[in-house]
Symmetry: none
DNA sequence: TATGAATGAGTTTTCATTCAT
DNA sequence: AATGAATGAAAACTCATTCAT
């Protein structure tokens, strides 16, 4: 089972993992393919045996992870819980992803998701897919009377994702504390901000 | 004096304006210095007479505009209005900036603010300054009982700015409609989302 | 014995035949060793089991065929016919070779014989051997009074071969019609041009 | 006058001349762009300031010279002399070109004209133009009764050019003596072979 | 024989920056 | 101020060849 996914090639995985480290440390553009090969301790040419280009390595990394995220969102949405809890679960999933492999998330956020002019554009549709799934959650909640209908679901999704990405960026660049409890607290904050709003209850 | 700064040199301004167009069209990395010179219709070498490097051109563009934004936030904060109105004014100012000069805002967002690994890092402190000013507004509003204190002002600022940046990104990459009324409505949406929250009033 | 040479290995022959197709289609330099393996439907490494290098494949192809040509010229020369008929037989043999296996002849002409700076240089002596055999025919014809002695046999051979090679090049690159009758006519033309000359008989 | 052609740029000419030496010495493929820059004693990048690619240098060299050849053939054809003399003049012009600048002719013959699979193909039309002009001469001579009509003008042109190219190749690779008188004699030989023919007069 | 993963040397091209005029 | 020729460093990618199995 697990083997099936691993079998592909141990060296191939080695290269992908090395790329995560190198991209996170030096940035995609600043690093050379030879840096990846060195980090993976494989021959230079082997990188090109498994990947057609430096770009393709990043593409692979992004898609592997983003598909997991999309799946997580879909699963979350399928659960019979309140919309607010769904959003909380998504925020939690993303924050945990960062906790679990900060380098990988850094690469995905910094080099793809926020790299609007390069990989961000390439994967725009895939990224937008996530917005769409979140928007669906909002839309259903509005229809069900859980959420107000003052803003479009599309916009709410954008704001929600924007807040999360900014939070991640804060961690990545050390603008935000990222201790265990800080992260747990942040999960709550995103949802509180977006769902609860900043305003005091108007009574 | 002021004149001195403005007059500085018509050619210098020409180059900056050309750079905005070229950066917006081709991206900072994908364009050559000669593209800027061509667009400005000045000699290649003149670019280096006025700017020390290609980087410095973007730095200049960013700082010029970001300082205007910081000033606008400060002025807004000084006004004796409700916190929600202050945030509305900031959102409005940024949206109008985009309406007025989409190319410039595109360059600033895409090439600096979201370019976490290059210019974003360079100008991190300056960008963070904006978060700080917004956080101040939130902090004061919490102290005054206008805003709930469930999230830290710092976090609220991050979420607010994150939502706005995502909205701009949506316009820049055509994921969001950007007609006159669309923009006006979006201004309202950001504030409604962040301040009002998505949840129906809990009563 | 003879069987031994033929049997040698079916795979080896498969590779040589595939190489002809691939060299003809893509050119020697533009193709990769893997293209040959793919065309032959054998494993990549097997090519190196039978041949020491990519170069050696072309060398083998050339020598196989060129030796046949040399033998044909020798046999022709041994026949008790007029010199003009001998040249006609050689022209005919070469033209028929092209008719029979245009890809192989294309490879030999384009990649070896005309590739003066690479394989042409390597096989210069072998190629020159053909000129020498032709020159012998001319020399004997001059001695016998069949041919005039106004040009050296060496030069006559060069001109004769040059005309034939140009004719083949014309076919290879579609500058010359290559229908069945066209080829037959061309055989006659070469001899007529070189032996008969263009001038009207001076009486 | 002469200035007009030279003015272009001394360095540019320097690079072209250096390229001729380097291409002739090492071959187009075997040499690096840096070899050309070194030979010309200019900075590496300057080569790319004047030429878009290594290929373009060879293209330029070829076209410069080939156009001179075409012009020479046209002028020759315009002269009111016998066809045989016209062909003699063309052979003479080409042989003299080689005498005058053997490196340049070597490059053109070896790297373009005979390089059927690379530059030869690129410039096929231009090369064919020469065949066409020669064929015209033959055709008119046939119509005027100067030449027999046993072969098509197109074919005669191919044979004539083939013989000349083979002669040049002979010189280039030292298969043929190239002393002053050898060259003069060869000029006569080509015409004698192609126009006079090898056969003794049939009377 | 047969396989295909692994190796790593080698070169064109790009382009920011400098500098002489 | 203004010009644009001159400089040269830097890196992705290709692919023939080797080798362990």
């Amino acid at each position: 089972m697990a083997a099936a996914r691993t079998t592909a090639s141990a060296k191939r995985r080695l290269i992908l993992d090395a790329a995560v480290k190198v991209f996170a440390r030096q940035g995609f553009h600043a690093c050379r393919v030879s840096d990846i090969a060195d980090e993976a301790e494989v021959a230079y040419g082997l990188v090109y045996h498994y990947f057609a280009s430096k770009d393709q390595i990043l593409d692979t990394l992004f898609l592997e992870r983003w598909n997991v995220l999309l799946e997580a969102i879909r699963e979350t949405d399928a659960r019979p819980v309140a919309a607010r809890e769904k959003l909380a679960a998504i925020a939690s999933f993303i924050a945990d992803s960062y906790r679990h492999d900060p380098d990988l998330m850094k690469v995905i956020i910094v080099e793809v998701t926020r790299a609007a002019n390069s990989f961000g554009r390439t994967h725009l549709a895939k990224i937008d897919e996530a917005y769409g799934l979140i928007a669906d959650i909002v839309a259903k909640a509005q229809a069900a009377g859980e959420f107000k209908s003052l803003v479009t679901p599309q916009f709410a999704a954008l704001a929600f994702y924007g807040a999360i990405e900014q939070m991640l960026t804060g961690w990545i660049f050390d603008l935000l504390p990222q201790g265990e409890e800080d992260v747990e607290r942040a999960k709550v904050f995103v949802v509180e901000t977006i769902c609860g709003g900043l305003d005091v209850e108007s009574i």
